[in-house]
Amino acid sequence: MSHPRHALDEIIHAPVRLSIMAMLAAAETVEFRFLRDTIEVSDSLLSKHIHTLEKAGYVRVEKGFVGKRPRTWLALTDQGRSAFQDYTSILRQITEGPPRP
């Protein structure tokens, strides 16, 4: 079990959840509809994956209103940000090889 791929976070390493995490890592907050339109998934599928990430403690969900319209905002938690950094550094180890001493 020494290959770095075994250390990849299973929660992040799924196509839709990876896209969600990548976008949230680059932003402070992202609105639900922006994620849905960019990742090109249905509301229900996106909600399902967000729920998984929220349960893992990676994503924080905030609901609010803009005027009378309800809006859902998403952000990474500190735990999520650190998990995503670890995940991308493992990906780089796989593609570029281990760091040289």
Binding site: A14, L18, M23, A26, E28, V30, F34, G67, L91, R92
Partner: protein, 147 residues
């Protein structure tokens, strides 16, 4: 890596880049927003301090429309870039400060018929009043170019 062996490390990194590029695009819009506000604000102060009376009246209307458009833009924003989020507060406060300074200068110091030297002072005040917006735009453009 048991459930998703089909997602290779290369493909995962490419998806990270693609997803983050969409956020960067939004940041560039934020930079352009700061730039538009900077141009509008500089134009407003130049017109107010150095322009004829009719231009001053139109400048007041134009800056009002620009502020409303800025408010609508911020409310409708669907992604808040991390840097934009942090910059928005400091730039707004600094801009309010420089605007107050320019308004005080306009009310108490600037003569009705400015000579050439007062003209230079007017240009300087217009540039100082809008400087925080230019700073915000440059920081945002640099950040989206670096990443």
């Amino acid at each position: 890596m048991t459930d998703h062996d089909d997602l290779s490390a290369d493909a995962a990194l490419r998806e990270v880049d693609r997803a983050q590029e969409s956020v960067r695009k939004s940041s560039r819009r934020g930079a352009r927003f700061f730039l538009a506000m900077w141009l509008g604000s500089t134009g407003y102060w130049l017109a107010t301090l150095l322009g004829p009376e009719t231009v001053k009246n139109y400048a007041g209307l134009a800056i009002g429309a620009l502020v409303v458009a800025g408010g609508v833009y911020i409310v409708r924003q669907r992604v808040y870039d991390r840097l934009l989020y942090r910059l928005a507060f400091s730039v707004t406060w600094a801009f309010m400060g420089t605007t107050v300074v320019a308004a005080v200068y306009n009310m108490f110091l600037h003569p009705r018929d400015p000579g050439p030297l007062w003209g230079v002072a007017g240009v300087l005040v217009a540039l100082i009043a809008s400087a925080p917006l230019l700073y915000g735009a440059v920081r945002m453009f640099r950040s989206t170019g670096d990443r």
